[in-house]
């Protein structure tokens, strides 16, 4: 185990509703989610002395939030980032806490991901009429290859070619995550779907269909991190940070698409660090979260992080394996595919709620940890939620991970 294992904890989580549209600023949404996360921890804004966020030039900043909420910070920084940044900011927070730069840190993401700037350049009203292709965009926009669906689709197509996997494996992931969303009152897509629904949905960017793609929503989400010693005195039982890796890169620094295998992703180089630091084996993991910008991104992270062999993920997910009450439940809130899109924070939030045994589901006593485990009645809480492995990626060449445990583990 690493010297930092279990030393720091996630003690508060909070988010705004997933909205389409929010009709609000990213600053307003950030303040709401941070206030909720701080209250969830049993703290006040004045107890927070570190604030960090990630964004893509599409959001407010930590100093703006601090001004609005009256926080006097000892540390503030906002990074440019994407998927896999949440876990990276947790690692960053641990370093700051360990070194004594601050005592309690909030990490947040706030974005009008639907009504504001959408990924790949689309304006709210439809295709961009005239676009400027400068910098790296000279070499993707000039050939109409900009959106995540278009970019990741390239890796997915080659994966299908190399492994013999079919898109029915993609469907397994869409169906499992949607099923969890049916148990989540916060999710924006709550109608159950089948493998055949997935196969019939319209093409967005072949090999991706509509039901392979995540939701785009306006939302902010936040988490609070502090030391184990402080965590014991707060509102909820602590959720301990066992291990992780933060924005690991792939084997080759080449342009992503010149790497020997474009679907051999960064998790392959990170998971030994995370599991080694946590001192656990894959068989110790009760449930996972897996960055699902697309069904395919979940699929290849499973093999990249050692849950199955190379090229075996298609078989691994068959038969509903990722569903609640099956072998390896994944994205219990419904994830990006069905709950909404927070750029990764919601995975950590749901994992914390599950590990506290307080999934905010239809059970009347959920806030007291009283669950029925009756899925037909809308219970989303796992019976045994002791250790969770959260996996995230930005592009194929960049990935992060966060292994958490609750008090019971």
């Amino acid at each position: 185990m690493g010297s930092l294992t279990d030393k720091y904890c996630i003690v508060g989580v909070g988010e705004t509703p997933h909205m389409r549209p929010s009709n609000r600023t990213t600053l307003s949404m950030a303040c709401e989610s941070i206030n909720k996360a701080i209250a969830d921890a049993g703290l006040k804004p004045q107890d927070i002395d570190g604030l960090t966020s990630y964004q893509a030039g599409d959001s407010t900043t930590s100093p703006h939030v601090a001004t609005a909420l009256g926080m006097r910070l000892n540390y503030a920084v906002d990074i440019l980032g994407g998927g896999s940044s949440t876990e990276a900011l947790v690692a960053h927070a641990i370093g700051l806490l360990e070194a004594g730069y601050c005592k309690t840190i909030v990490c947040f993401r706030s974005m009008n991901g639907r009504s504001g700037r959408r990924m790949g350049g689309q304006a709210p009203g439809g295709p961009v009429s005239a676009a400027t292709a400068d910098g790296d965009n000279q070499f993707n926009m000039s050939w109409g290859w900009t959106t995540p669906a278009q970019r990741f689709g390239m890796s997915a197509m080659r994966y299908l070619h190399d492994t013999g996997c079919t898109t029915r494996a993609f469907a397994e992931i869409a169906v499992a995550h949607r099923y969890h969303a049916t148990l989540n009152p916060k999710a924006i897509q709550r109608s159950p779907i089948t493998i055949e629904d997935h196969q019939r949905s319209r093409w967005v960017s072949k090999p991706f269909r509509l039901l392979d793609c995540c939701q785009e929503t306006d939302v902010s989400a936040a988490i609070v991190i502090t030391s184990r010693e402080r965590a014991y005195d707060l509102k909820h039982p602590p959720v301990f940070i066992m291990g992780g890796y933060a924005r690991t890169l792939t084997e080759s620094p080449n342009w992503n698409y010149s790497r020997s295998e474009i679907h051999y992703v960064a998790g392959n180089y990170g998971w030994k660090r995370a599991f080694g630091m946590a001192g656990i084996a894959h068989s110790d993991v009760d449930f996972i979260s897996c960055y699902d910008a697309f069904t395919f991104t979940t699929l290849i992270q499973l093999e990249a992080n050692g849950f199955c062999g190379k090229g075996e993920a298609g078989d691994f997910v068959k038969g509903g394996r990722l569903k609640i009450d099956h072998e390896l439940p994944s994205n219990l809130s419904g994830g990006h595919l069905s709950e909404g899109y927070t750029h990764g924070v919601q995975m950590v939030i749901e994992n914390v709620r599950q590990l506290r045994h307080r999934a905010d589901d239809a059970c009347p006593g959920w806030a007291q940890g009283k669950h029925t485990y009756d899925r037909a009645a809308g219970c989303r809480q796992l019976r045994n939620a002791r250790i969770c492995c959260g996996m995230a990626w930005g592009w194929e060449n960049m990935a992060s991970c966060l292994i958490l445990r609750g008090m019971a583990a």
């Binding site: 295709p127 961009v128 000279q138 070499f139 197509m157 072949k206 020997s260």
Partner: protein
């Protein structure tokens, strides 16, 4: 054949690192970057140093503009106005024939195929073709399937 690309709705801005690349495409030449010290080749030219030896003493390698399709996507829902009438169109990653290095490193580039999805398959040979735009300074390379191959793979779901 896919519909035409409306380049008037795309403003391509060459910069210090890429101006010579665009000057080459105007002369119907396909360049990739090459390290003057160790010979490593790469794309795109926005990368200003050699990933193998970190040298910034870099130049250009003129490829034959011939390669093999490594992967592709079919865009059915265009997001840029320039491609509204092009869809459905195929964007392919092309593995260049003459950029394979001794340690197995390859250079791959990308572009819109002149061909329809039905004709497209991983493994097929293709070559660069050059498309004029309304900007006299800018010629954009596309790719055209140029033959057949023994082992090809087509997505057919």
């Amino acid at each position: 054949m896919p519909g035409s690309i409306d380049y008037s709705r795309l403003r391509i801005l060459p910069d210090f690192d890429t101006a010579e690349w665009w000057a080459a495409t105007k002369q119907h030449k396909y360049f990739v970057r090459q390290c003057n010290k160790c010979g490593h080749k790469w794309f795109p030219p926005t990368i200003p140093a050699c990933a193998k030896c970190a040298s910034m003493d870099i130049g250009w390698f003129e490829t034959t503009g011939k390669g093999v399709i490594y992967s592709y996507v079919v865009v059915t829902q265009p997001i840029l106005g320039a491609f509204t009438n092009t869809a459905p169109y195929v964007v392919a990653i092309i593995e260049l024939n003459d950029c394979r290095e001794e340690d197995g490193t390859v250079t791959r580039v990308a572009g819109v195929l002149m061909n329809d999805e039905a004709e497209t398959a991983i493994g097929l040979p293709c070559e660069a073709v050059y498309e004029e735009t309304n900007d006299p300074k800018i010629v954009v390379p596309r790719w055209k399937i140029s033959g057949t191959a023994a082992n090809t793979w087509h997505f057919n779901e």
